[in-house]
């Protein structure tokens, strides 16, 4: 059960964290909890992906491991309705509207979050950490300011390079790009610094 102060009422915010390949929702909550630092007005929830991954049997995944971008995009789009329903159920349970909800995706969770946000109005903010932004055309919506996105990449990430992520986010109609923080020395991980940036952006 999320650690939330019932008295915080209408000021509450929700962070929905989507893990990467071989991770779990609990891992994401653990990382984000320290960064939340006593803010009991922030509800954090994190579903587990549906797959038991072959190459990381101790964790979960949203889809099998692959480098094929078309498959990643297709699988992410297929997952989006179920993840959106999960977000809506949690919003109803905690009476927190989409306007005060943020999706935080790490690695595979980024493509899933992208597809969810492209198809469903379930969040106002998003953090895409160490993941390719495939699975939906977000620029139409972010260009109009509908979703406030922060992209975080690692300067030492061997899986997801910052320049590939930049190419995923070609400038929108108004010429803007997503704000993008490249953390020096960060590998492919959701560490305390990424968690801090995520909470900061989600609760601005």
């Amino acid at each position: 059960m999320p650690d939330v102060d019932p008295a915080s009422g209408e000021d509450r915010r929700m962070v929905v964290a989507l893990h990467g390949y071989g991770g779990t929702g609990a891992d994401m909550i653990r990382s984000l909890s320290a960064a939340r630092a006593g803010r009991h007005d922030v509800v954090m929830v994190a579903p587990d992906g549906p797959h038991h991954p072959e190459l990381a049997p101790e964790g979960r995944a949203w889809y099998p491991i692959t480098s094929q971008e078309s498959l990643i995009a297709r699988w992410s789009r297929e997952l989006a309705p179920e993840v959106a329903r999960y977000v809506e159920r949690e919003q109803e349970r905690y009476r927190i509207p989409a306007e005060r909800t943020a999706l935080v995706g790490f690695s595979q969770g980024v493509s899933v979050a992208t597809a969810v946000l492209a198809g469903f109005r379930v969040a106002r903010r998003a953090v895409f950490a160490c993941g390719r932004i495939l699975g939906g055309d977000l620029m139409e919506r972010t260009g109009s300011g509908e979703i406030d996105v922060l992209v975080v990449t690692g300067g030492s990430d061997r899986f997801v390079r910052g320049e590939d992520v930049r190419s995923d986010t070609a400038p929108g109609r108004d010429g803007t790009r997503f704000p993008h923080v490249e953390v020096p020395g960060l590998g492919h991980e959701f560490n305390n610094e990424v968690a801090r940036l995520s909470i900061e952006h989600a609760t601005r």
Partner: protein, 81 residues
């Protein structure tokens, strides 16, 4: 298609670059995962490495810990893809 010898050579180089002396004695049949040489992140990195080095796209359902257990097994995986 890359030859098995060339694949083994490039794989050994890759593992040595990433793991240093721990990978100095890796041969075609060394257990990579069970021995603890490759942790979960390194298994993923090795998966993407072998796709790059072989120029093939591995079928997602065929990428298993068993198929990547040794360099010889990994080569069979890329040949079959």
């Amino acid at each position: 298609m890359i030859s098995e010898d060339r694949f083994l050579e490039l794989s050994q180089q890759f593992l040595h670059e990433r793991l240093g002396d721990k990978a100095a004695h890796v041969d075609a049949d060394t257990e990579l995962v069970e021995s603890g040489l490759l942790d979960s992140l390194m298994v993923l990195e090795f998966f993407f490495f072998l796709e790059n080095v072989s120029g093939t796209t591995v079928k997602p359902e065929e990428a298993t810990v068993q198929s990547l257990a040794t360099l010889r097994g990994a080569y069979r995986l890329v040949v079959a893809s």
